[in-house]
Symmetry: D2
Subunit: 348 residues, 4 copies
Amino acid sequence: MWINSVIKVGIVGGTGYTGVELLRLLVGHPDVEISVISSRSEEGRPVAELFPNLRGVLELCFSAPTAESLAACDLVFFATPHGVAQEMVPQLLDRGIRVIDLSADFRIRDIALWEQWYKQPHGCPERVNGAVYGLPEVNREQIGAAQLVACPGCYPTSVQLGFLPLLEADVIDAGDLVANSASGVSGAGKQANVDNLLAEASDSFKAYGAPGHRHLPEMAQGLADIYGKPVKLTFVPHLLPIIRGIHSTLYANLTDTRVDVQALFEKRFANEPFVDVMPAGSHPQTRSVRGSNMCRIGVVRPAGGDKVVVMVVEDNLVKGASGQAVQNMNIMFGLPETRGLEAPALLP
Amino acid sequence: MWINSVIKVGIVGGTGYTGVELLRLLVGHPDVEISVISSRSEEGRPVAELFPNLRGVLELCFSAPTAESLAACDLVFFATPHGVAQEMVPQLLDRGIRVIDLSADFRIRDIALWEQWYKQPHGCPERVNGAVYGLPEVNREQIGAAQLVACPGCYPTSVQLGFLPLLEADVIDAGDLVANSASGVSGAGKQANVDNLLAEASDSFKAYGAPGHRHLPEMAQGLADIYGKPVKLTFVPHLLPIIRGIHSTLYANLTDTRVDVQALFEKRFANEPFVDVMPAGSHPQTRSVRGSNMCRIGVVRPAGGDKVVVMVVEDNLVKGASGQAVQNMNIMFGLPETRGLEAPALLP
Amino acid sequence: MWINSVIKVGIVGGTGYTGVELLRLLVGHPDVEISVISSRSEEGRPVAELFPNLRGVLELCFSAPTAESLAACDLVFFATPHGVAQEMVPQLLDRGIRVIDLSADFRIRDIALWEQWYKQPHGCPERVNGAVYGLPEVNREQIGAAQLVACPGCYPTSVQLGFLPLLEADVIDAGDLVANSASGVSGAGKQANVDNLLAEASDSFKAYGAPGHRHLPEMAQGLADIYGKPVKLTFVPHLLPIIRGIHSTLYANLTDTRVDVQALFEKRFANEPFVDVMPAGSHPQTRSVRGSNMCRIGVVRPAGGDKVVVMVVEDNLVKGASGQAVQNMNIMFGLPETRGLEAPALLP
Amino acid sequence: MWINSVIKVGIVGGTGYTGVELLRLLVGHPDVEISVISSRSEEGRPVAELFPNLRGVLELCFSAPTAESLAACDLVFFATPHGVAQEMVPQLLDRGIRVIDLSADFRIRDIALWEQWYKQPHGCPERVNGAVYGLPEVNREQIGAAQLVACPGCYPTSVQLGFLPLLEADVIDAGDLVANSASGVSGAGKQANVDNLLAEASDSFKAYGAPGHRHLPEMAQGLADIYGKPVKLTFVPHLLPIIRGIHSTLYANLTDTRVDVQALFEKRFANEPFVDVMPAGSHPQTRSVRGSNMCRIGVVRPAGGDKVVVMVVEDNLVKGASGQAVQNMNIMFGLPETRGLEAPALLP
């Protein structure tokens, strides 16, 4: 049970989109004090100079990321590219500091698999098994007790939540799952990249990574954990000409066609504060979750047949990253799970 | 001084964009209870069915707009097209209910001028002089005591705030002001209109209303009030292929070139919670105020000459409409002016 | 064989997007004279007033649609909503005028099925069997001899071309096909509709019609014609915040995993002027066909497994509608198939 | 007079947006053969690999840019950043090859001014005076005879065409001109740059370069050439979240209010194939010129006063760059001025 009045928080890697989104959410969180925000490249620069939306609400400057500067924190978020958290996390854990890693470093238990997809040796394999996969709808209890939480990827969050009730109820053929997902460009991060220029990516649409994408092994692991057995998943991501938002359209074959899929979803998520099962026949829109931690789901059986189609939307920077991280923080520190995450989506 | 614990609020006309934006802001306001939300066309329908971002946070249904149903309110907002508030406001005022009208009905003191631009007889001319023009940066004190506040238009807010320091300091030629403004399409409201279809308005840009626009007399009146004498203004609005945001680029000739315009603006707005003068040389972006009540201003003298260029950004639905209405409410009820309006802009 | 020097063309229903696109393509076609363009609602109005891109290149005014005014045409295009062509086509055919119908009126041979999906009695069932389905890659020969061509729908063109090589070669399980498609908003036509406002549809993404869409029976019929047996298809369309472009992501299970899918596609379309099989590993982008009649296809076997993923892009207004209509016209009149359709896509 | 059947054309710097746009226009030009296209960074790579819209229509590979490889050309276009043409142009001119430079290298006659704005020594000042400024509406005759044409910048084209009739007729105060311009992001080129990412630039709007922009001296020179005396211009460019299109809103004070500005514009441009004066009261849209070489202009006197507002739209990559270059080529080689530039804009 958390008894201090305020959680002292540090953020490593605050210059990207998940970093600024963490800041946006945390400046409004009544139980948090942002103590440190680090960036090697922007050391000394006021955060609000880089992110003008924070002018007047955050006075902090970026500092160099060191274990010493983070020593006084109760919790450190890593909003860094993969490979960074691996290096610093052990020192923090050893000092008793809790960690939520938004990168991929501690998500995959099979180290060889991680090394294959991320094409580098893992820097801290001994801590991977102790990490809790931070999907509250699956692992709420372990998250509460965790010292290290591996926050799920944006696509994996949507795909796992969408298949969750069907796999738990064992009513679909887990040997042939299809996830057709589409993400706004903020998912690619704030990197100078010709492909993501407005002149290249707007007024257009394309798939990418169809032969294989790094989020696939994370999804496969998570779905297998839910199902209790391996699953077979085809995953094709697409690039949307929007800033925020993930839409996953999931396809599976029902093995039991008597199931009422609408009721199944409503029951499974009845007590989940951040999963909203839409009324039967609804098609969720990404804008209905823009800026919010909500995940909205619609489920349909076209022509009442044996194919079930699940449509899942989330804001990739919120429920797909920083919002879920805050949700995990709330759970870890015994706070109401929705604290600081109550604001409705910005619509229109 | 407001001593009740909660302000009971009614909203007339809750189906448009300023309506849903009021709702978004008010559901998170700790001192407000939304008692009634009315819509003739959607009577009986749950609000959250029309606006899925409010699912789970607002249980209310639309009701028919009647003075009786609004009788228990402390404050009623009108988020209606022009011509509607004129009909209902007198009955509410007579019952002692305070009113904030977001429409144009009570903004212009010259009734003939109003009737010329809005092409209909004014339904309530006797209440116009008692209305306070709700631009807090100019009329804060009167707003506090007002029973009826006429909330400024979206373009006029940006144009008046941008010229304010220059006119007050009497350093520009008020006989030749140019306001070149551009607004996102939400300014056109949630009306089915071919011109505002995504297929028509996106990936394009155009001016409109160059020969004359309804916001011109409101601006002219407001600028003259500030200056103490009539001004001459050319105003050309443009339609931006974005959802939210107004950018006004203002041009004037300095009559006193010794003035330090940066210092002038910084000093004038030093204590304003919702006007942010950017550092010298900055160009404010509309996204830096998306979803926020902030107005950001940059001011430049190109090549150090006698032309001054002021760039003003605001979210047309927030500082340009519903946020400013909430700011006015806070002032009217003696609350901290920023209450319920603290959330930073959504960026990216 | 066509021996006149110029094809006299009429267009019924020229005020929508397929109408203006036909005009854009035909004004540059060296063998065509646009004789008549009709619209009941815009009778007498210069076409270029409605479509400013045609100022200076098309002097025509809209006229009322009558069989008499069309009597001098060699060919009449119907760019009308469904239900209109049914009424007028018989009179034109009886006069020996050839017809290309871009609407759904003559696409589906099963009249009862048509009536079920379009919710009205079919006005001309006796002409349906004589109509040729205008997908040149499948029916080129019959199109050449046809008096009435039913031009395929936008989604069905992409889905049929994508599954074509696989079904012809009989290497997939035709009992479980999935088509996950996404279209730009111009596919919804130039109708005033709140859902398609820029403020509603931009910066967002959603599925629609998941329980069932009118293009499904057309696809099922076309795929069955190709395969020689019925197929089972799940089709989920999505709305993209772009103007033009369809992207279909197709999923099927290979029954013969020894097949080289890349070679299969390259061979099948080697002589097709408007189907471009991209190099192995490519992901086609909708912008690469913007304004062009080209359909580009990429094909992938994720992780070399038994799932085949086909990605198909087309411009919904060109290869998905008006360009394909011109291609059909070229075939019907013995012209080179690419005449008037040579311009590359507009990129960026 | 040009008597060869085909113009052999070389393009130096073919990897940017003006390069690909030149290619798009030239592959459809009946009198042109593209002989060489060079790029140092992409040497050996097929052009169509970089620009998928050219797959199947252009077989060329990029080659290294050398005077030798260009020796057989009749005409060489430079679509390079400033500073490159200066180095190579003299060698080409010495060989009798004609040159159209799309960069800024030969636009400004005052070398010191050029060096001040472009912050580098000019590499070829001795050729600057021999260059003809390629704005056909002003310099058609000299362009026909020119060996070196300096193609105007995108903003300067729109601003000069808009002020042209007013300055020539001497009816405005040339001492106080305002040009408020907005450009699509393709104007920034195909450079990896965080500011132009879709996640940064879309759904937003901002001014830039308000203190001073490189196109200002070019405009000032061109307007002074037209007027016969120096003018004073304030120019503020803005960044639009669209791909293509420039919209300039020009403001000036009439010195003679009896002038019929609509008639003045119509008369001045009556014989110009690429300037379209819209009917009185029209507001031109950038999409009406998307992909076309047309410049459309609307002119208004708000409330019939002494301020004149001119609205000018062009496609920054066509009339603002590559289309105007082709127009210049047509003039230089005695071809009909519209050859290869007839295609209407892509709308919607």
